[in-house]
Every structure is written in structure tokens, then in C-alpha cells.
Amino acid sequence: MSYIPISDRDKMEMLAKIGVNSVEELFSSIPENVRLKKDLNLPAPRSEMEVLDYFTEKGKKNDFSRYLHFLGGGAYEHFIPAVVDYLSSRSEFVTPYTPYQPEVSQGTLQVIFEFQTLICQLTGLDMANASLYDGATGAAEAILMGYRLKNKKRLLVASNVNPQYREVIYTYTKNLGLEVVEIPYDQSGRIDRAGLTASLNDDTSVLLCQSPNYFGVIEDVKSLAELAHNQGALLAVVISEPVSLGLLEAPGKLGADIVTGEAQSFGLPLSFGGPFLGFMACKKEFVRQMPGRIAGQTVDVEGRRGFVLTLSTREQHIRREKATSNICTNQAHCALRATIYLETLGHEGLKKLAWLNLQKAAYAAEQLTSLPGVSRKFSGPVFNEFVLEFPDRWEKIDKKLQEKGILGGLALGHHYSGLENCALITVTEVHHKEKIDAYVQALKEVLS
């Protein structure tokens, strides 16, 4: 089964038309010495039923479904309405290419235009692109965009930005002769003011912060923007939990110049980490330095509204090595899912969802910290994630909690020295009160 609809008879007719005797002859340009003389050493072909059995069996080797988890840190479990899976699974959305022929791609293009609009509304900025790979590459692209706009080699990154995002930033920048400086955090869990002021000078292109940051703490975006702008630098904000935007003031309204992030929370399953959905928005005047595809509105010859991919002189297929990014294939279908998800929730739905997340996390934090020896590590305000400090190393507590069927949070010690006794705990709308109470009870038993 190779999904090949050419019969042997078709083959003979086609070979005759081409004027060769065998398919083999068509490969004569491949030198004999590099041609395979035998079959690839691959498993024998399987029937559809056997393929399904194979994956079912491997799926059973995963053993996480019996656990109650409170994991986040850049990947979040949220409820996904049935309509998202149903509509996004349509062939017409799953199997087209990039909409380079706009007359027969208005569906995809209008979805991108709606996605860009939703991202602008959420971030409070003027322009958004059609998507990037994920939050981590979005953060790296934002840093590089800031560098192109200001052309100064000093780039500041807060140390409370998701460690994986920072790793990708280093991977992307280290070949380009740029100087990435990390800014420490303080006892509130926010960017340390003294540390920032010491590093922020007029050689700086951009400051990248995350809000809510990796500790779940909401940064003071407004004052960070002021500090950056006073030194002639840009402020880029990366967001890994965009549900927070249902509640928090849009970073663009607080002075952010570029907002990027991870939109997995908007209707994408956890999927062991991918595919996820990067997004990016910016102020109008920076759009020509934006990476990635952008859809725009225009008219057809009869004056009817339509959409096309536009401003493509920024992109690799036109500008080659002078492009703003090398990105080509993006996360279009993930952006479609996010668009359906956000339009399903709507204005009131997203606000309510954010409120549920805030309140449930607050309840969990309150209940957990009522146990002796458990306390909030940072004093800053949080959304749906928070860091707790325990009386012992988190790994030890984590292990005992797992014996009780609870995955209680993410370790922080391997990324941050001094946080060996701490964990990052995430609570969303999927955590009913009983689940939170079960966690509290299990921890109580573990600690006693």
C-alpha cells in the first residue's frame, strides 16, 4: 500500500508515451555506484489494522493517565471544546498548501487575518504575523528583530524567562557576535531593578521579559517599558500562558514594543510538546522588520474584499539572505485551531476562563501553604502558576507524591541554584476543587 493510483496498465501506457522501456531508465542520471542494490532494511509493510495495533500498543507504554498533574512551565492543559477538533479536522483546512494562490485559498487567508486580529486585540499592538514555530523561537526572533531595529549588539534577557526560551535565544544569537546579558530576579520573583539598571545602557537594543514569568509572577511591564525606552531600547514581552491576557492589561497598552509567545493554551493539546504555536505582534512602525508571513486585505478586479499574503519583500523567497528570518513553513493549522478556540470562547468566555484560572490557582496556593513548612517562594502577584518552597528537596517530595498518584509540579533546582527545595505549580480550569483538595491531602501525608 503506497497510496499509488497508477495501475500496471497505466504504467505501460505512460512508459510508451515517454519512450522508455522501464521506470529504471528514468533514473539513469543517478550514478550506478550510489544506487541502492537491495531493499532498505525496514520493517515489512503493515495493514491499516496492524498499524493501529502497533500504535495502540506503544501508547499503552505511556503511563501518565493515572496521575493527577499540576504541570505547566510553558505547556498547559486546558479544556478544548469539541467544535475545535471537529472544524479543524476538515480536509479543506488540513490538506492545502501555503496560500500562494489567493483566489482558491480565501478560507486559509481569512483565518490568518482573523488570527492576526485576535492577537492584536489580545496584545494591544497594531500588527501581528501569521505564526512562528513556538514561544521559544518567537523569543529568539523577537530578540533578533530588536537588534535589527536598533542595531546595537547588547541584548538583555531576564533570567526568569522560561529556561528553554533562553536556551534557544543563546543557540540563535551565539553565531552572530551579539552580547546577551541575563538580568537577575529579586525576592518578589520579578526582574531585579538594581540588576536591570546596572546592565541597561545606551548600547542596548532590546530588553526581553516574560509576563507572567517562569515563576508565574506578573511583571511590572509598564515600568520596564519606561526604563527600556529611557535608554533608547525596545521592550519585548514574551508570554507563555496567553490565557492571562483575558484578565491582564494588554502589554502593548503598557508600552511593550514587541509581544511574542506561545499560544498552545488556545486549543492545542499538550502533544508531548509539539506542534505548538508561536505568535508575534508589534507596533505599526516596526512591521517591516517582522519575521514570517503576514496576510493583508485587498480587493479583486470586481472590487470585492479578499485577502493575500503581503509585505513579502521581508521574506526569504524574495530577499534570500537579506530576509528578516529564514522561516517558511509555519504553524498555520495550529493558528487555525487557536482562531476557532478563541472565537468559540469569545469575549466573555476568555475573561471567565482567565478568572477561573486565577481563582483556582489562588485557592490551591492558599491551601498548600496552610501546611507546615510550605510557603510561597516569591511575593509577587501570580496568575495560574506559582512557586512553593518545601522543607526538603523537591525531588524527594515529588517522588513521594508520585507514589500517591500526584505529579505536583516542576523542579526548579536544575535551572536555578537556590531553588532546590522549590517547585513550579500550575492550576487551570481543568482542576476541580476536589483535585486541588486531593493534592493538598497527599502533600499533607507526605510531609507528616
Binding site: 503506497s2 500504535f55 505547556a75 493575500v308 468559540t344
Partner: protein
Amino acid sequence: MINIIREPLIFEISSPGKTAVRLPEMDVPEKKDLLADVPLRKEIEGFPEVSETELTRHFVRLSQMNYCVDFGFYPLGSCTMKYNPKINEKVAAMPDFTSGHPLLPEDLVQGNLELMKTLEKLLLEITGMDAITLQPAAGAHGELTGMMLIRAYHTAQGNPRKYVLIPDSAHGTNPSSAHLCGYVVKEIKSNERGTVSLEDLEKEMTEEVAALMLTNPNTLGVFESDICQIADIVHAKGGFLYMDGANLNAMVGVARPGDMKVDVLHLNLHKTFSTPHGGGGPGSGPVAVKRILEPFLPVPVIEEKEGRFHLNYNRPFSIGRVKSFYGHFLVMLKALAYILTLGPRGLREVAEVAVLNSNYIRKSLEGIYHLKYETPTLHECVFSDKFQKDYGVTNLDISKRLLDYGLHPPTMSFPLIVHGALMIEPTETESKRDLDLFIEAMKAIAKEARENPELLKSAPHVTYVRRLDEVLAARNPVLRWEKTG
């Protein structure tokens, strides 16, 4: 396609108080002052509000404005728009795979890790390479990763080197990826066969050149027959041969890049391995390397020990991460399902029929459309609008007219070395009937070009919208909906 109903933007059919989902009620005691000192928003300005019926009809109508592989022939050259098998989608939607958090303890995700390791092994056998990373998100991301590996190697030898050589027929992502990796791009001119000139390469290849980036078969569909000599020239100066695997569909099961002295190769799972394009993504761009580059692969790498799978982050020479987590896991599953379904013979048949179909189209349209290079081609062929230019008709007009015939046009205006290019890649999943429909349409259009060129210049006529003003879109960018009045 239903072209009668003009579907507004969701924002234009929104009205206050509607939603398409009911969320659970609050079941914990509420606190009012949680974010007392944090600026909160009163509203999300302009955010839509619709019912589930309106939402569903909106997206069903939008979907019907799209052309897609499940509807018909999609001969985009170098894009490999093959059929996307449905079993792959079913596998990737299984809750055991969709619901796992990426930071779960390794013991709880042994199934996921085993599947990824299995895909790695199968791809290494298919490509003849030694080691692989599945982390890159797409082809261009794979290119960047591959160039980073090369740079890391050279840097470890004391000099990252300065240049990367790229043929003028290359896809735009090649120079862009090399540049993003800190290299200066030097273009190599194609010879009269449309392939790399060994003389030119010899001249340009110095000890300051880090690598040659080569697409093979190239974007003309021509196999670089001198591939081994090319590799020798590059290796003699200590450089690496990078192969862009975008066109691997032409030789899968027939020949392996690893046997052609290729050092680094990226694959597009969304091309050769049948995962859907989704309107532009997500893809997946694994990078395979020879042993010498293995220490530099991104972290983490999956290791197997006594039947258990482990993510190793302790790799001192690694270039680091190129994205979050481990890559596009669900896309990997689809590619794995595909390879397991086809087996070794099935994969070979893919290349054989892809090449047969392409040559059938080429032969059928020769003389009707201009073929700049007469060199034999594999999986794709590149015609141009040279004959039709006499009637004032361009490749754009031909493409737009194809839409009226219910067919998707070929890739236009690429590769850059063919002026007015029409780059056709049929893939192996087209029936002879569909190939003939396309051939007949192309012949009819060539006739129309002579007899009624205006019909082409004003095409398309029967699509949901007609020719769109792209100049206006770029000159006066409207990139989002805004509330008016």
C-alpha cells in the same frame, strides 16, 4: 465550492453576550483583591462573540473557499503535495499521544520516546546517515540547525570559517538560513545543464568556505550526477556537504544521500513522508548527520539502554536547543505510520511513480510549453512561459487560468534561473486520469493563449474572488480588522 455566500469576518457578525461554549462554574471561594496592584483590562477591545451555530457555519463556509489535496491535483514544484493518508491522522489523534505533558517524568512516557527513537532509526536507514535530531520544526529550521552543526564543528577546530556556497537554483531559505547562522553567502552559477559546474566550484571552494548547500535533485528536478566529485572537492578543503532534502521524494528507496558523501541532510516530513501541510504548517524538519557531527546535535538526544529510553541533556559539544521540547511529536507519528504502512518496497515505489508521473507530464507538454533545460529530470520538471509571451501571456496568467479548470497551478517564478517558470511536481499519488486532466487543461490553455489571450489575462473567472490586487495590499497594508464608526 459554494461561491455564492460572501462570508464576513467573525468580528462583523459578532454581537454582545454570545458564546459558543459553556465553561464550568467557579467551585472555589472567590477572592476579590488578588491582583490589587496589577493593571487589569476592562475589555478585550473588539473581541468577537458568536453562538456555536454561527461559529460552525463561519468555518465551514471558509473551508469551502479553499483548494486542497483532498479535492484535487496540486502540482506545486518542490512542495511535494502528495495525498495525506487518514490512518496517520487517526494515530496522531490518539489520547495516549495528544495528552502527555512534555515535562512528564521519563518513566511515564516510554511509549512516546520509543516511537521517536524508532522513527530516528528508520529515517537513518532511509537516508544512509549516522545520527539524527527530530527537533527542528520545519525545513528551514532544519537548514538552520544543520548550518549550526557545521559552524560548531569548524569553531571547535579553531575557525568557524566565513562563507557558504549555494547554487543560484536554490530555494530562498538556503541563503537565509546560512545568513542567520552568521555566514556570508556566495552564489554558484548553474551550468548549461542546470547543475553545479565543477570548475566554478573548484574555484570558489577555499579553506574559508564552511559548506556547500546543495539541493539534490535540484529545483529543476535534475539529479546532480557529479555529487561524489562535488563532495570530494568540498571535503578536500575541509568543508561539509549539506544536502537540502526537500526533493527526497525523487529517490527514496532508490538511492541514499549518506552513500553520496553527504555530511548533513534535512528532511521534510511534510513532503516525502506524507504529513499534511495544514495550509502552511506545521511541518517537521529532522536533520541527519555523519558521525563526525553527532557530538554537536541539539539537546536532548534520545538514548536507548536495555529497552528503556532516556533523554540525555549532558552533551558538552551540543549547539543547544533550537526549539522547545523535542520537536513536532504528532507530526513525527504521522510520518512513522506512513513508513510502517509502506515498507521498503512501498517507499521505493513512491520514488518510481513520482518520477514516472513527472516524466509523463514533461513528455506530454514538451513543445507546447518551453523547456529551458533539456537535461533529464526526476520528480519534477520546469517549463516556462516563453512561447506564450509572444501573445502577451505570462506564467501568472496561465496559472490563474488553471484555476478556472478546477486545478491548482504549479509553482510560479521559481527557480530563479528559469524566467517565467512553471515548476510541476505531480507526486506519486495522482492517477493517470488526474494527470491527463491537467495535461489537457494545459494544452487547452496554450491554445487559448494564442486565440484569446484576454481570457487568460483576466482569469480566474469562476473562483470565489477574482484576481486580487497584491500591489494595493503591500502599498496600503491592512493587516487586521478594526472597528469602524
